[in-house]
Amino acid sequence: MAIASDINPYQGALKGDNAFAQITDNVSRIMEAPKPPRAWYIAMGFSLMLLAMFGASLGFVVWEGIGAWGHIHPVAWGFPIVNFVFWVGIGHAGTLISAILFLLRQNWRTAINRFAEAMTIFAVICAAIFPGVHIGRPWLPYWMTPIPNQMGMWPQFRSPLEWDIFAVGTYATVSILFWYMGMIPDFATFRDRSKTTVRRLVYGLLAMGWRGSSRQWHRYERAYLLLAALATPLVLSVHSVVSFDFATSQLPGWHTTIFPPYFVAGAIFGGFAMVVVLAVPSRQFFGLKRIITMRHLELMSKIILATGMLVGYAYGMEMFIAWYSGAIYEQFAFVNRAFGNYGWAYWTMIFCNVLAPQVFWSKKMRTNVWVIFFVGVLVNVGMWFERFVIICTSLARDFLPANWGYFVPSVVDYATLAGSFGLFFTLFLLFCRYIPMVAMAEMKAFIPEGHAHDH
């Protein structure tokens, strides 16, 4: 890392003579440095390339028709919905960290909550794109919203897709509000430290006149608490509702009462995995090791281990209930899932989601950044496969054997999947550079110095 420190402006000693000042300096210098580290440029270039591919492939889909995707007759939902559920799931950890851990007074969350929340929002943006473009007439998704119109058309509220619109919409709105509100004091800090007019103006606008008065702090903390309380049920609701898309249907492999808790656990699992995947390089490249410490990573590893076990339990329980139900279609769906023609996908999922996190039983492993990062990647792969297994393999072989098919993705499928990561990383990299990556104000409240009254 010697070379890295040469070219990385974020690795030097921190300015300031006390912990408060050092935190401010540590976070603010990311924005203030004239140039970010080379790694940022490389990552940004790569992400933009993927983003361009995303745009091109979605443009192609809109132009050509969604036949450009690899959907086959029984598998009417393919990659787009897999990606949608995957990205919505990723979003979960953010809200969990910001809201639930806040309410539970898990103060360690302050180191990671900001970018976990950012991750949530970017993931929801990625997710929201897919349902819009996966529909047959991608210029009409607004017909799903209850807009009064002269034609008297109205959505059909019995459809779980309609519930999705509201669940994801509410979730996105509350997450953005929560994220933005939390950033106001930090934007003010940025504003105050800015040396150029443009920055002062932009951060000034974003700070909304924050002056740090005690009345402002009082209002701010009340509002933050209320929003946290409001966001908490959303952690459970959004993925539960997404799971209703499947759970309320008649399809064996979808029609399962375990889905809501199973999806929520899976989402938190995948979300935390994504947080560590983002945290490990960020703390490295932006010099945040003293803020995002090994303890944070270790705690997150423990959560991944715990939620991974929950997910593993759900996998086992699905199998058991299928057997116990005595319904031949249900039994077949699960036996086929594990041992049929999509068995490879199922076992990839089991390996990544159930077996891989088991290494975190060992303290040595869960304090090794490489292991944490690698398991995080595996879990993300596994969670993507989980959605693929649920959606595609159930559809591929449903009731009537004459319908059975085998879904093979097209180039566009792969391009949109990779492209959505491009969008996600582009947004994330912009966030790292221009937005306070760590909640400085909150952080300061919980460092030991924050509680010292004896000087």
């Binding site: 036949g67 047959g136 399809l251």
Partner: protein, 1054 residues
């Protein structure tokens, strides 16, 4: 459905109907008619009655259209002109019979369909039809219920023919080839041909030959006589690859005279089908036999028993109660065995000779086969006079003769089979073609006239017709397409489609069918009879005059009645032939076939159920139709039993090389359980290189569809060839467009499939069903089906429902094509079918019953079940699929945004999604954009105007033909009467040859459908899901012989 009014277009003459075109022509006729100088004149030329001026006036355009310089892209240019003139249709043609109305005649309502009787003759097999015409545009074919050849039913070819009419690839101009292709005109052709014929007449017809396709047309037959009269030394040969001389010869061997067998299988209690498929669309009378046989498959009536001994599963084989898979070449031994047994017990008169010697073929000792044959003998003897044995046309003449003998000995003649005098038909096969080729090779043919067919493509490989054709100085081809044959001829002239021309045909029972044109020839084609009449210089060459003259219908009333009904005269009278002694038909050891086992491969070449002998290769509907057994569309496959295939190291869905006598082709392998061990079945008709933009056009880089298997078709071996070899190729075809999984799938899948099939496709035996009628309902046990909610709809008025009788479905696919024609479902092409994106609202699911060695096929049509508790309706976020008050599950296309959730939640997966803009891709037009492309305009004429054409991104599915329901309801309402049962027929129901579909109102307790739903064997597919389907299946009830019955069905638990 009864036609609103049947009109006879022959009454529509130009005299009655003034059009702008007539007005334009007036001066011309005036000028032509007056020999004296006009009193008023427009120019000196007119005053002089200058012939040049007369011609100028008579012409429609300054330069005659047919002489207009056409660019190298002649066809395209021509099409542009065509497109422009569609709006003015009627002006372009000189014929004066069919013109658009300028004043609405009495009784004609624009937008109301009119049905015209017509007839289609496919390779000599004629069927009486109705063409449904909207404002002068035929859009749908229905069977003519008045004709015994149809009884209201149709087959896939008939249904597909409407698309063929509007095929822009059809030949559109006269073409001359002298070294290179030169567009020409009818006038030039008439001049050139006139000279040729004049010379030939002078020479007594020496050097003239006519090669025609098979035809049952009495007019063409009489023209043939006149042609040969005028030119006694000319020859007239017919060639049809499917022709089998042995059936005709067999009757001659048996009775010493040329007769035709007409069957009455409805009277047969026991039906033995030996390598025969009575129900197949290429069987003459197939539609009538289908209806007749199906009428005896109702377990509440008296059920027939069907035995099938055959190499490949046929339609009747899938219906049979007992089926034995046996090599086609061993049928002779079976027949000999039956003769030996039956003769011994039936004791024929001494004059007829004793029985055949009992054959010593080894397979007859096989316990399974012997047991079935012995039961067949017993059953036949027990049903003398009410049994029937049929044998496949490809079997040798002696075999046919012995079968006629057996039917006679069993007293079936006059009861289940009758013989009629064979009428004058045009038919011929490989031997006839070989004789013609020999003539050509000997230099004795200078002028060859080819009427239809496509011999360059479908001649047997050992008859070098193409090479011989090159040696003919003048070859004239009349064809629907400028195809392989036309390319080697000096002249190509466009043929009129059967819907464009007058014609006649003879049905299987001898009745004459009259066909009237339903539209003026789109591309100026002529029918074969018009062409021949013209060449002969007959005074009246219009199709109508020719046909009318043939049938001597001088009485207008009689003629108009015949045109209206589509039939003339009655069925031929039965004769009582005298059976000849056995000696004339003894099966030689050679004919008895060998005792070849599984290792000596037998290859059977069959006509394709979709493209026939290749003639429908450019028809998208038919290409997209999947084969009833292999479920492969857009191509043919090598059908082989799994055990044979594994022995040869073949893999399902992989390619293999099939070799016969040193000639080989590459084909995908399709494991087909039920195929006799050691046999291969391959369909002909694919691999067309000059078919068109659908079936393959090598010049324009249009992918050739399927494999040309005529390379293995020899005059010597005929349809059954022994000694083929198959070698596996370790690769898959680029695309295999199968609509159902291959047979060989993973074990888990196969187990899951086998586990659920008894619940999905329920069946039992007649005795079991009679003893325990509840057995069908008890195939699935489930908790009580309760609903949380009240029905949102009361169903006070009508309550539409359907019943599908699995006892009657043969998997013929007629309903599938009828549905496509009625409901404007697009063709999606091979690559999209491979992704399962075919748009057919109705599919026929094929399953196998039995094990890998002995299996039978089961066919099950599946369409939208119109669930009362529809899972699709609940999940649509925009309410695009809704329940109607009559219980239809309606689809609102323009509300649909295409989430496809409905498809996912449909347990039957009957919803089809427009993944692409298929109408744009295939027809070149969309409901959104319209088109200026004349090709697209022509194709879109085939659309049913009653049904929306869907665009990209919307879901669609079976509507129970809601447009038909509404049309009948409106009519009934106007007449202030209730809708009668059976008045509404869905497209599938109307087309179905066996009557497997019944549609009607469930609120009407006396309706056929309500009764069917009330039968104990009625069941809902996946009833445990509580979707409460409006389509119910009637379980398949087989009627096995007690000695052969296997335990199947009701267990002691009940």
């Amino acid at each position: 459905m009864k036609p609103k009014s049947l009109q006879d277009p022959s009454t529509v003459s130009s005299g009655e109907l003034k059009t702008p075109c007539d007005a334009a022509d007036m001066p011309a006729s005036a000028a032509a008619d007056t020999s004296a100088a006009p009193s008023h004149w427009r120019s000196l030329a007119e005053l002089d009655n200058d012939p040049e001026f007369r011609e100028f006036v008579a012409r429609e355009f300054k330069t005659p259209l047919e002489e207009m310089p056409l660019s190298s892209k002649g066809r395209r240019r021509f099409m542009q002109l065509m497109g422009a003139s569609f709006a003015l249709a009627g002006c372009r043609w000189k014929e004066d019979k069919l013109l658009p109305f300028s004043e609405r005649p009495e009784g004609f309502v624009p937008g109301e369909p009119v049905f015209y009787a017509t007839a289609m003759d496919i390779a000599g097999v004629a069927t009486g039809l109705w063409a449904k015409s909207f404002d002068g545009r035929p859009i749908k074919i229905e069977g003519n219920p008045n004709s015994a050849s149809s009884l209201g039913a149709t087959n896939t070819y008939h249904q597909g023919s409407i698309l063929g009419l509007y095929d822009p690839d059809r030949s559109q101009q006269v073409v001359r080839r002298a070294g290179q292709r030169t567009p020409s005109s009818w006038a030039d052709f008439d001049r050139a041909a006139g000279e040729l014929i004049a010379q030939a007449r002078a020479a007594g017809g020496r050097g003239v030959a006519v090669l025609s396709e098979a035809s049952s047309s009495p007019t063409l037959a009489s023209l043939r006589s006149r042609f040969l009269q005028a030119m006694p030394q000319a020859t007239w040969v017919a060639y049809e690859p499917s022709h089998s001389a042995s059936a005709e010869q067999g009757i001659e061997l048996a009775f010493g005279q040329r007769l035709r067998a007409v069957l009455a299988p409805e009277r047969a209690d026991v039906l033995v089908s030996l390598d025969a498929d009575l129900l197949c669309p290429s069987t003459d009378g197939g539609l009538a036999y289908s209806r007749a046989i199906a009428s005896r498959r109702d377990p509440s009536g008296s059920m027939s028993r069907i035995y099938a001994v055959e190499s490949s599963i046929t339609e009747i084989g899938s219906m049979a109660d007992h089926r034995v898979a046996l090599r086609a070449s061993q049928i002779a031994a079976v027949v000999a065995y039956l003769d030996a047994e039956l003769s011994a017990q039936a004791r024929p008169p001494a004059a007829l000779g004793a029985a055949q010697p009992r054959p010593d073929a080894k397979f007859l000792e096989d316990a399974g086969v012997k047991k079935v044959l012995d039961v067949i003998v017993k059953d036949l003897l027990a049903h003398r006079g009410s049994s029937l044995i049929t044998v496949g046309s490809r079997q040798p003449a002696e075999v046919h003769a012995v079968v006629h003998r057996l039917n006679t000995l069993l007293g079936n003649v006059g009861k289940t089979i009758r013989y009629v005098e064979e009428a004058d038909r045009i038919s011929g096969g490989a031997a006839d073609l070989a004789a013609l080729v020999a003539e050509i090779e000997a230099g004795r043919v200078e002028t060859l006239l080819i009427l239809g067919g496509n011999p360059v493509y479908n001649a047997p490989v050992d008859v070098p017709f193409a090479a011989a054709l090159g040696k003919v100085k003048n070859s004239i081809r009349l064809g629907l397409y400028e195809d392989e044959t036309s390319r080697l001829c000096t002249w190509h002239v466009p043929q009129a489609h059967y819907l464009e021309a007058w014609g006649d045909a003879r049905a299987f029972d001898g009745t004459v069918l009259i066909a009237q044109p339903t539209i003026a020839p789109l591309h100026g084609g002529r029918s074969a009879i018009e062409l021949i009449a013209g060449l002969l210089g007959l005074p009246r060459t219009s199709g109508q005059d020719l046909v009318r003259a043939t049938h001597d219908a001088s009485d207008d009333k009689v003629w108009r009645r015949a045109v209206h009904d589509g039939t003339l005269g009655s069925a031929a009278l039965a004769v009582e032939p005298v059976l000849r002694p056995i000696a004339s038909m003894t099966l030689t050891e050679a004919a008895l076939g060998s005792a070849d086992g599984i290792d000596k491969l037998e290859l059977v070449l069959e006509l394709d159920p979709a493209v026939h002998d290749g003639r429908f290769a450019n028809n998208g509907w038919l290409q997209e139709m999947s084969h009833p057994l292999t479920k492969i569309s857009w191509g043919n496959a090598l059908m082989i039993a799994p055990i044979t295939a594994e022995r040869l190291g073949l893999r399902d869905g992989f390619l293999a090389t099939l070799t016969l006598e040193g000639r080989s082709v590459e084909l995908p392998v399709a494991f087909t359980p039920g195929q006799a061990p050691g046999t291969l079945t391959v369909n002909l008709g694919y691999g067309r290189k000059v078919a068109g933009r659908v079936g393959g056009l090598v010049d324009e880089d249009v992918e050739v569809v399927g494999t040309d298997t005529y390379a293995l078709f020899t005059a010597k071996a005929g349809a059954i060839a022994v000694g083929a070899t198959v070698t596996p190729l370790n690769r898959r075809p680029d695309v295999l467009a199968n609509t159902q999984d291959l047979y060989a799938i993973d074990d888990i899948g196969a187990r899951g499939r086998d586990e659920r099939l008894p619940q999905l496709l329920r069946e039992t035996t007649l005795s079991d069903y009679q003893a325990h009628p509840e057995v069908i309902k008890h195939k699935v046990h489930h908790p009580p089906r309760l609903n949380l909610w009240h029905d949102p709809v009361s169903y006070d008025g009508h309550k539409w429902g359907m019943a599908i009788d699995l006892n009657k479905c043969t998997g013929c696919n007629a309903c599938v094509i009828a549905c496509a024609a009625e409901n404007n479902t697009p063709v999606v092409g091979k690559h999209e079918v491979a992704r399962g994106r075919e748009m057919n609202w109705l599919r026929v699911e094929r399953y196998f019953k039995g094990d890998r060695e002995q299996a039978d096929a089961r066919q099950m049509p599946v369409l939208c079940m119109q669930c009362e508790n529809a899972p699709c309706e609940q999940v649509c976020p925009v309410g695009a699929t809704l329940h109607s008050s009559e219980g239809l599950n309606d689809m609102v296309y323009n509300r649909c945004i295409g989430t496809r959730y409905c498809s996912n939640n449909c347990p039957y997966k009957v919803r089809r999604f427009n993944y692409r803009n298929y109408n744009l891709d295939v027809y070149g037009t969309t409901p959104y954009t319209g088109t200026d492309d004349p090709r697209a305009k022509l194709r879109s004429m085939a659309f049913n105007p009653d049904v929306t054409v869907r665009g990209r991104g919307v879901m669609e599915k079976c509507t129970f033909c809601v447009q038909r329901i509404q049309n009948v309801k409106i009519k009934a309402k106007n007449a202030r009467r209730p809708v009668e049962d059976g008045e509404i027929k869905t497209a599938c129901e109307q087309a179905c040859p066996t009557g497997a579909y019944v549609f009607g109102d469930l609120n009407d307790k006396k309706s056929r459908v309500a009764k069917a739903h009330g039968e104990p064997r009625a069941y809902e597919l996946l009833q445990e899901l509580n979707n409460r389907t409006r389509v119910q299946y009637l379980a398949r009830i087989s009627n096995p012989h007690p000695e052969l019955a296997t335990e199947d069905g009701h267990s002691e638990r009940h």
